[in-house]
Symmetry: C2
Subunit: 154 residues, 2 copies
Amino acid sequence: MKVMVGGTFDPLHDGHKKLLKRSFEIAGRNGFVTVGLTADGFANRKSHPIRPFEVRKSELTEFLNSAGYSGRYEIEVLNDRFGSALESDFDALVVSEETFKTGVEINQIRKEKGQKKVDLHQITCVLADDGKWISSTRIWNGEIDNKGRIVNKK
Amino acid sequence: MKVMVGGTFDPLHDGHKKLLKRSFEIAGRNGFVTVGLTADGFANRKSHPIRPFEVRKSELTEFLNSAGYSGRYEIEVLNDRFGSALESDFDALVVSEETFKTGVEINQIRKEKGQKKVDLHQITCVLADDGKWISSTRIWNGEIDNKGRIVNKK
């Protein structure tokens, strides 16, 4: 199956890793995954500083190549929330509980453009040890590490 | 992956077949799919008559066995909208655009029960030749056949 997924992946945490793992599982052995990675100009709208695209791309590539997934992949630069997902021929978009709404929006725009709608696979966000979602913002704030472990503040 | 999916499957149409195909694709080669099939007492709440459970089960089993899916499966009797999905240990629930809300509800109840939430894979409904969804009700009404072809009324 052809699957699309996207994010800023900074830093790459266990929630992202689940999102990517599922994308390759769904794509299957002969599948293809397009991983959208936000461009710096777009990513910098976040509430905390973001490392440069090439640094994030390098971390992402290293993870994907070491994870042993059987499907092939490409990394696409995302200059907005949609990237090529509005026109591409693919089967399923992998989203989180936070980004499901963007998936619905993408399908709505695809329909208006006369493109077939795609499946939306919503993963359940990974919880940190305190039972709340792991997020880059919480890691940046120093509350948790990238595995969701509580950081003991001194 | 362990996947759950459910329905009344009467008659089994191209929309159901996509739902089932995706369930096995997502489950993967070594995966397991639990297919919930509504009991007669529950299914009969529909707006049109439903064939008996054993007839529907036989048609479903015949399709699943002939489809060549690699994963294993079991058929579970559904006496309500949830079946064992509230307590079972599984990874993803496959739903349609019509039943996504039930998936969200299942996750909410699972969370209240202290169970992990599961992924929700929403397939895009298959369209009939007139661009509207294929549905059992439309087939029963004689508008379309189980492949979504328009039935010429005499």
